[in-house]
Symmetry: C2
Subunit: 199 residues, 2 copies
């Protein structure tokens, strides 16, 4: 990694920090892109080079890219796919375990929930993640194409993680995110969640 990339990375992180700080202080809508640029001491156009939209500036700290696909890739190759998926989901939840990180994430999710733009963008990003996950699953089970079944599997996994996160947030973090995720997985396996069916 050359010097150029290193500097770009540092600038990127700085921009996120500055932006989030301002968002926390004044609220998402009340902060303009110009203010962020000024605070970070760069030009407004440059800010847009790093983040093509204000929404992404609020989503960036969540670090969603490969959130599930990555952990799945890291599972041992001989693990059955359903277990690998379950463990990947738990692993993804583990990244919220540290207290500082989790309060940080929660504050950001709060901002996102109250701003229609970023909130909508979040779903969109997760949908892309689901597609990526489906591809990784296909690769793992040796399927040449991403079938409807695999897409549903990926979607199911994303849903479990999302529901666990919601329950964790709603429960005021009485238990850890991992425990809520464990519960959500159990819910699916035990049939506690009703499955739609036809006769």
């Amino acid at each position: 990694m050359g010097l150029r990339e290193k500097k770009a990375d540092r600038t990127r992180r700085l921009l996120i920090d500055v932006a989030v700080e301002l968002f926390f202080e004044y609220g998402f809508d009340q902060v303009t892109m110009e203010q962020i640029a000024e605070q970070a001491e760069i030009g407004t156009s440059t800010l847009y080079r790093y983040f093509p939209s204000k929404d992404l500036l609020l989503l960036a700290p969540l670090d969603l890219e490969g959130g599930l696909a990555g952990p799945l890739r890291d599972r041992p190759a001989d693990e059955p796919i359903d277990l690998a998926l379950g463990n990947a989901i738990l692993e993804a939840a583990r990244s919220y375990d540290s207290p500082e990180r989790s309060t940080y994430i929660l504050r950001i999710r709060d901002l996102i929930d109250h701003a229609p733009g970023p909130r909508a963008r979040l779903w969109d990003t997760l949908a892309q993640e689901s597609e990526l996950l489906a591809e990784v699953i296909a690769e793992r089970v040796g399927s040449p194409e991403v079938s409807a079944e695999l897409r549903m599997t990926a979607s199911l996994a994303m849903m479990v993680l999302g529901q666990a996160a919601d329950a964790w947030r709603a429960g005021n973090q009485e238990a850890s995110a991992v425990e809520y995720t464990h519960d959500a997985l159990a819910m699916l396996a035990s049939g506690a969640a009703i499955m739609p069916r036809v006769d």
Copy 2:
């Protein structure tokens, strides 16, 4: 329903028609709100009274409100909840059955897919629908509160419908939307879709 509401309804439909026609002709980005207002012969501010955002103008024709919650409410009260849900999902899919309506919807979904704003807004709307569905389910099973299990059930149902719609679109409508939906439900019941689990 008074005269005032009737006129408002007519205006609303007119606006959607005019907007969609322009979107089809020139593409979502290439059409300004001013053009739509002008074409519909109303003021721009008035247009914003009817549709608070351009995105919603493209989502409106999909008529998503209560898409699943409504059909579920219409199921007989003595039907077991899982069957009621499955049938509600099929019923929702049935609204795409007529050839004219389905091609119309498909063209709109195409536009949505290529415009980041409306696409993101769509997910957000579906998330709200999921929450609404969870409430209807809770009411039906006599649960005083919307539990995590019910939320997951609702989310599951929304997912099945969404996956079915995707498969239908990807399959170039060789079969009807209802058949694809039936397949998606079967996938879930038969275990063809892999379920994440832990040991």
